[in-house]
């Protein structure tokens, strides 16, 4: 070989023909850090959109247990990661309560899987999300958001409390830290790949 391969000229039009969107859902209980995680990962300021469910949640969410949070996120937060020249990954923060399952079905269709955020101080809040993804056979990773005072709980205890299947991945994140959130996404995609056979 006496010459290096010629550098390819930029071909935006051709590249666009192969554009491929992907999505990962971010779920979990109310106030668990879904918006924060999406914000940490997104390359654009996180946006929000509506699925027309505002009236359903008025006055229903219990905002007393989450200091500093006065209203629930009825709009759906989402973020964007440009993965390479063809793939764009979207993250959708989905309301975790089971009364929103009507919108999860549409969101879950074709999804890579889900990151289910858990606050160990209110561990039961994620049960609905785990049930949902488990029942539909969608890959999910349980990500314990490291809130103050929760570091001492070991993984086995968490697995027991959540009745997690043995092969379901469990990880720890700081939702404010993009690196740890990216690692949770990597864990999810590895798991999805392992299950795709």
């Amino acid at each position: 070989m006496d010459s290096a391969p010629a550098e390819r000229a930029p071909a935006p039009a051709a590249a666009r023909d192969g554009l491929l969107p992907l999505k990962i859902l971010v779920s979990g209980g109310f106030g668990v850090g879904k918006t924060t995680l999406v914000r940490s990962l997104s390359e654009v300021a996180p946006l929000s959109t509506e699925e027309g469910m505002t009236s359903l949640s008025d006055g229903v969410d219990d905002t007393r247990v989450v200091p500093g949070k006065s209203t629930t996120t009825v709009a759906m937060d989402f973020g964007r990661i440009t993965v390479d020249d063809r793939i764009v990954l979207y993250l959708f923060g989905t309301p975790g309560q089971s009364r929103f399952w009507f919108m999860w079905d549409e969101l879950a269709r074709g999804a890579v899987g889900a990151v289910i955020l858990v606050d160990l101080r209110r561990i039961g809040d994620c049960f609905a999300a785990i049930d949902y993804f488990e029942n539909r056979g969608l890959p999910f990773v349980v990500a314990v958001n490291d809130f103050p005072g929760t570091a001492g709980v070991d993984d086995d205890t968490v697995r027991d409390a959540l009745a997690l299947p043995a092969d379901a991945p469990l990880t720890r994140v700081d939702a404010r830290d993009g690196g740890s959130c990216t690692a949770a996404l990597v864990t999810l995609v590895e798991y999805a790949l392992a299950r795709s056979g």
């Binding site: 666009r16 554009l19 491929l20 969107p21 992907l22 999505k23 946006l47 929000s48 959109t49 509506e50 699925e51 027309g52 989402f78 964007r80 990661i81 993965v83 390479d84 063809r86 793939i87 764009v88 990954l89 979207y90 959708f92 549409e106 969101l107 269709r109 074709g110 999804a111 890579v112 990216t182 996404l185 990597v186 995609v189 590895e190 999805a192 790949l193 795709s196």
Partner: protein, 109 residues
């Protein structure tokens, strides 16, 4: 303007039912026809100079996803927008090679 006026009262595009992550880009035809379109349609075509999802268009216009879906579906049916759909296998899941590319991309971050 109320949302139902943007879509002439329709909640579905007769011609397309796009997923929320579907990407669109403006076409040559869309650029050529832009002057005769409504303000909302022009906003969509201008923003779609770069790849943009249905979700982002809803957010940009301040309308629910269902309204954005109708507006985008109509523009796509007229070939003013090119649509880039998710690539899924027969099981409805993203194809394996796509997951591998995603993993490579995330690990490189």
């Amino acid at each position: 303007m109320p949302n139902y006026a943007l879509t002439a009262g329709r909640t579905r595009s007769a011609r397309m039912d796009l997923p929320i992550e579907a990407l669109v880009t403006v076409t040559e035809l869309g650029l050529a026809q832009r002057p005769g379109l409504s303000p909302e349609q022009r906003t969509i075509l201008d923003a779609a100079a770069e790849p943009l999802s249905l979700a982002e268009i809803g957010s940009l216009l301040g309308v629910p996803i269902g309204v954005a879906r109708v507006l985008v579906g109509d523009l796509a049916a007229d070939d003013y927008l090119a649509v880039h759909l998710p690539l899924v296998g027969t099981d409805g899941r993203p194809r394996r090679e796509l997951l591998e590319r995603l993993l490579d991309g995330l690990r490189a971050r």
